[in-house]
Symmetry: C2
């Protein structure tokens, strides 16, 4: 069987490049003096006893981010970005993540803290590792890259081959080939992407004596060199077959060279689904864990997307090759790898020609697969690095370290990466294309350690789970905790009003009309009133006319015509004077009250309106429409007209303290300000908003109340409000980051509704810490 022929003959290219990807990334927490942090893992994060994506590796100061396995590299990278956001924002102000594989300033061996949490087995294992390898080596961090082919690919190739009788046999042979060839050739990757040329002296300065000798100059990869953390020399495993692999590891455990199977730290570990390695013989290899990748300190995730793509391509080539690596070839390959690790990063590879030949062969593969357009640039760049060693990652890192000093360099990058996450706290990087409210909810779920799957990204559809419980969430606020009918009640303004009126709540009077004639016939009914004419079902202010004085019959008709363009049914409603507040009701409580104010600037006596707008737009909370909690104030025709009506233009200079409005409407999306009123609002209105949600039998809703005086209590005799709408898809992000007042994290309330015990535990952990 030649896999390459099967792929070519049966046009399996698109299946071949499918795959499942998972990334694990360790890193050290560091204090502002670049010393290993002695603090506890952040308490706001969900417990490591169940957190699926955030653990600590060996040390308490060594958080580990674990992306779920996803069917594309891009998705895994999205996850890695998002997890970085969560980790960065969870760190105290005086800590950041060390960007290098080699540690920051380490204390004495005995002071390096191993994990602190209530899992005796995990602690015992780390104590054994400390004893067996030394603590300092355990602080070296890196990337583990998990890869498998798609089931569809494996099944398709299996179908067209005749060598193996069972899918498991075939699959195991495929993966052992991948692992063996990888070990034979991985030095190529190390040459290209090795990135640990240097270590802080504290790494070597050990009383235990294990690491006393340091290299005399920069190398390509300390982590992959003899200074790195590997199994003891005698642990050599045979990759001829999965059976050999399993038996060898079992033997090492039996003879005490390994404490248990998981202690085998080969650069290509075969992983199955069962508890024991041996289960792979029945159920097959599930994926391979590639463990030799240094953290790339020049990328904020420790690995760049193109790096990942190259790894993937390299894996493909490892199975595309006709041959499988022999034991000798693997041994030789591993020696080349050690050799490469020790090389001076600025000098050519000892195996340059071989490296170039491999790249050339990869290029041929891409040509045969018609994939050269898609991946060709990766090969070109790799070739370049073989020609110019100073362009390798290790050389670039070494040059920077040489210039800045190791600690200053690590500090600059680490802080930069942390700020990338903390500067725009409303965004979940990796998923910035999703709705802001959903991004906030995802953030909170990741923080809490709820398992998450994005089942439809464009539709903001999430699956959240913890243990046996599964909850689906759409748009961040639609859940199993609300009923279908409550959704449709709120969708229908007339139905909402009828139900609220019947329940005794104050709503604007008015009528619903299905034709112009019918509405015209009721013209006189609204006599002497201020009225709003609006289409029944649109939501964004389209087709709405407001008459603060009763309109002429002609204007009334005109407004009706405009509204009927948008909908078959039109509402004529009493217009209520007062200020509109949004009450976000969540699970029977008011989670937030918000006042929205039309776009405006405040004069300083010297700046023009145009300048004041620019200044206001510099707020990082403002951005393109719907991509930030607040929108830029525009300098468009509407704003111009609004100024003109006030006798102003963009060059006018308002007096100090003078507020100039640039819009009539108060939408946040047209530059409006958001002002939190949660603590200011008189409690009687909160009770009303909660009551309205109850009457509509809904747990999550945005209630819009018109309130002339928010400080004056509303009473049964004199209701101080009118309810104009209940929103079935209320935005949460606008409450989280506001122009004035305190932000309200409603998404956490949603999670509390779905997983109350997890949020409760989190609150208790944080309370405990504050004490």
């Amino acid at each position: 069987m030649k896999i390459s022929d099967i792929i070519k003959n049966h046009q399996l290219q698109s299946l071949f490049i499918e795959g499942n990807f998972g990334i694990e990334k360790e890193g050290l927490r560091t204090d502002m003096e670049e010393k290993l942090a002695m603090t506890d893992h952040p308490y706001t994060l969900g417990s490591r006893l169940y957190h699926p994506y955030m653990m600590t590796d060996f040390s308490e100061a060594q958080p580990e981010l674990i992306t779920p396995v996803r069917p594309s590299l891009e998705l895994s990278m999205n996850w890695l970005e998002a997890l970085h956001d969560v980790l960065h924002r969870s760190l105290p102000d005086d800590e950041y993540l060390w960007p290098n594989s080699m540690p920051n300033i380490l204390p004495e061996e005995e002071e390096i803290p191993i994990i602190r949490y209530n899992d005796p087995d995990a602690i015992r294992y780390r104590e054994y590792l400390a004893e067996s390898y030394g603590k300092k080596k355990q602080t070296i961090s890196g990337i583990h890259f998990n890869f498998s082919f798609s089931d569809a690919f494996i099944e398709a190739v299996f179908e067209h081959q005749s060598q193996f009788n069972t899918l498991v046999e075939f699959k195991n042979d495929l993966y052992i080939k991948l692992a063996g060839n990888f070990l034979k050739y991985e030095w190529v990757l190390l040459y290209l992407f090795g990135a640990s040329p240097y270590a802080d002296p504290s790494f070597y300065d050990s009383k235990s004596g294990r690491l006393l000798k340091k290299p005399t100059d920069y190398v390509r990869s300390l982590r992959n060199s003899s200074f790195g953390y590997h199994n003891h020399e005698e642990v050599i495993v045979n990759y001829d077959s999965v059976e050999c692999y399993v038996k060898d590891i079992e033997n090492f455990v039996e003879t005490g060279h390994l404490s248990e199977e998981r202690e085998f730290y080969g650069n290509a570990r075969l992983r199955g689904r069962g508890e024991r390695l041996r289960d792979m013989l029945d159920t097959g290899v599930d994926y391979i864990e590639f463990r030799s990748f240094d953290l790339n300190p020049l990328d904020r995730l420790g690995i760049s997307y193109d790096q990942g793509r190259f790894y993937h391509l390299f894996f493909l080539y490892m199975v595309w090759l006709d041959s499988e690596a022999t034991v000798e070839e693997i041994t030789e390959g591993q020696e080349k790898n050690l050799n490469t690790a020790d090389e001076n990063p600025f000098e050519s590879s000892a195996f340059k020609e071989e490296g170039l030949q491999i790249l050339e062969d990869m290029s041929s593969m891409l040509n045969e697969l018609s994939l050269i357009d898609k991946y060709g640039d990766l090969i070109d760049k790799a070739k370049e690095k073989f020609e110019y060693p100073d362009r390798t990652l290790s050389a670039r890192v070494a040059a920077q370290i040489d210039e800045q000093g190791y600690l200053a360099h690590g500090r600059e990058l680490g802080l930069k990466y942390k700020h990338y996450s903390t500067d725009r706290p409303y965004v979940l990087n990796g998923f910035e294309d999703m709705e802001l409210s959903t991004q906030l909810l995802m953030y909170d779920a990741l923080e809490l350690g709820v398992e998450m799957e994005i089942i439809d990204r464009a539709d903001q559809f999430l699956k959240l789970s913890h243990e046996d419980r599964v909850e689906y969430v759409r748009n961040g606020n639609m859940t199993s905790k609300d009923t279908t009918i409550s959704h449709f009640i709120m969708e229908n303004k007339t139905v909402t009003k009828k139900i609220l009126a019947e329940a005794g709540y104050s709503v604007p009077g008015g009528g619903e009309y299905h034709s112009l004639e019918e509405a015209m016939a009721n013209y006189l009914k609204y006599k002497d009133q201020a009225i709003v004419i609006k289409p029944k079902s649109t939501n964004y202010g389209i087709g709405i006319s407001v008459f603060k004085n009763f309109p002429s019959k002609e204007s009334y008709q005109e407004a009706l015509k405009i509204a009927f363009k948008e909908d078959d049914t039109v509402l004529v409603e009493e217009f209520i004077e007062g200020t509109e507040y949004r009450f976000f009701v969540l699970n029977g409580e008011v989670g937030a009250v918000l006042l929205r104010v039309p776009a405006n600037v405040e004069g300083d006596g010297t700046s023009t309106i145009s300048e004041l707008i620019d200044e206001k737009n510099e707020d990082p909370l403002r951005g393109e429409n719907h991509r930030a909690p607040m929108a830029y104030i525009e300098k468009g025709s509407i704003e111009k007209l609004m100024l003109k009506e006030q006798g102003l233009d963009f060059d006018s200079i308002p007096e100090e303290g003078q507020t100039v409005y640039l819009r009539e409407n108060s939408n946040i999306s047209t530059g409006g300000d958001s002002i939190d009123f949660t603590d200011e609002m008189h409690e009687s209105y909160n009770a009303i908003a909660v009551g309205i949600a109850e009457a509509l039998e809904v747990n999550v809703t945005g209630i819009d109340l018109i309130i002339p005086d928010y400080q004056k209590p509303s009473t049964a005799e004199e209701p101080g409000y009118s309810c104009i709408e209940a929103n079935f898809n209320p935005a949460m992000n606008m409450h989280a980051y506001v122009t004035k007042g305190k932000g309200r994290r409603l998404t956490k309330g949603i999670l509390e509704m779905l997983f109350p015990e997890l949020v409760q535990q989190q609150k208790e952990r944080v309370k405990e810490t504050i004490k």
Copy 2:
């Protein structure tokens, strides 16, 4: 205060003609020999202990339909129609409703059954009435018409008058004026709409001797004559003020002339909200009950819409008048009324000139209100009747009775009205504009005695309640029993498939693409498969291409382009061969399984296809699209083409037993047949459909399964199905009335989910009866 001036000066016309309307209609059940039915009230109807719309009046054989109070006459009439449907369809085959106010053949007094149900107080009161007035008089039936002005009207007029200090005083004066003037002038209505010219001899033939003397000829209204049922002569109530009215009735109760306040049966009864009449003095009159209207036997509802409109107009005129009736005028008016009742229907009214003058004055009122166009014709017709007495209702009824005989005439009309309801059992008359599934649900709710309000007619939005429980229902199937998120899960095909696949259910393989390029790049992935290409979110077959053989790259691209026209996201899905069945899952059980077959006819060896289509379309279950459970088979271009492909045309004569298909698609809406498979389907598939609903966490859904062999059990190893869709708004009507097999009343299941105890009680009552 002149109300007419206030209305004119302040343009209150449109408020003036607003009002609230409620209709109560009694009638006797009769057997096929036109004798009073001796059977029990239908057991399928909800218990009279709580039924809000269907009671029995005096006799067990005297059902009473009570519409809720509604803000337009039209709506009340809709309700009256619907209630007739329910009552008619609930009657045994050998019973119908007697259309006349005067009874059918009555047995001896003692054999007339008074109500039979467990309400001792209600029975005691009827026993008293039997004793006091005689049972036969109690069987006379009629219409009670409840009317009130809109609150808005009363408040507006109150605001512009100065005579009364409180709204209650003003309102009570308004209603006492209406009642008094009505009693003064009601003879006009009796002249126009009296409709009980004759009674069966059994009515008079009483051993008790009370009714021994019969009139010598037809009269206008026996019911309103001395033969009718009125309070004893001495009970005369003063209508000078509400206070007088209340005091008088209280006195009659005290002196024993009335057993209790409700025994006062004046033709205009003031009704308040409190338990005692006296409460009206504090809270005001709520509405007036007008009681003098005969059943109109020539209208299937006992009252025509125009009749109701005329009553309404008459009420308006009664308050438009400047004067309020004095005690003397009322007495005189009541004498005129008795006089009119006794008149020969074919002769002129003794008060013809006065009547014409009143009509003329009503006409003037209409002119002043600019309402002559809307109501003028009613006045014209009334005037005509004063000119030509044989055009009055009483004369027309008398003429028909004279020709056919009283019993034959009543039988013909009664059966005709019953058949109107029973011929198209899938329609709820009065609400035919609503969706069929909602009509079915409304029918079942009315039958059961659940309180109902249509809160948005065009949106199929109902409020159902019983005692303290309120349930909202939209489209007949969206309720509080399902969650918001389950709705959106089903709305999203990709999400549905992902969840089902994860839960282990068989779904078609495939992919989701957001651009033509992306989909094209995956062309080879579907190699060798039959595929369907479809837009992600449309539901009605638009933009869908099916390739039973793997398409060329060009056809694949063409189909993608078509699909991308409909949606941003396109699905390429494995096409599964087999037959599609719809499983309606309701509350954890399969309520119905349906096979839909494309429009077809079966040959008889002599008829042309065109004739066979006509014949099939005669089925009363077929009708215009969505207005009947099945649609007409059309003879359009698609059908023509389909025939042509088979070498046929509309004039071809198929052989006997030969099935000719006229459509490719199996939609019911294009003339397809519906075949019930509920009992035929192998139970393993039912378990799958129920499991799918569970996985989607939904209580009401339509699951579409492709099943190659419905008799072959589906097993975990060999699943015999593929799930292609779960519908969030599954039609229920198509299961209720089918082309072949047994209809399934799913709407009753919906009610059982919402009000389980009521349906349980109904089932028990029916079971009890069948025993």
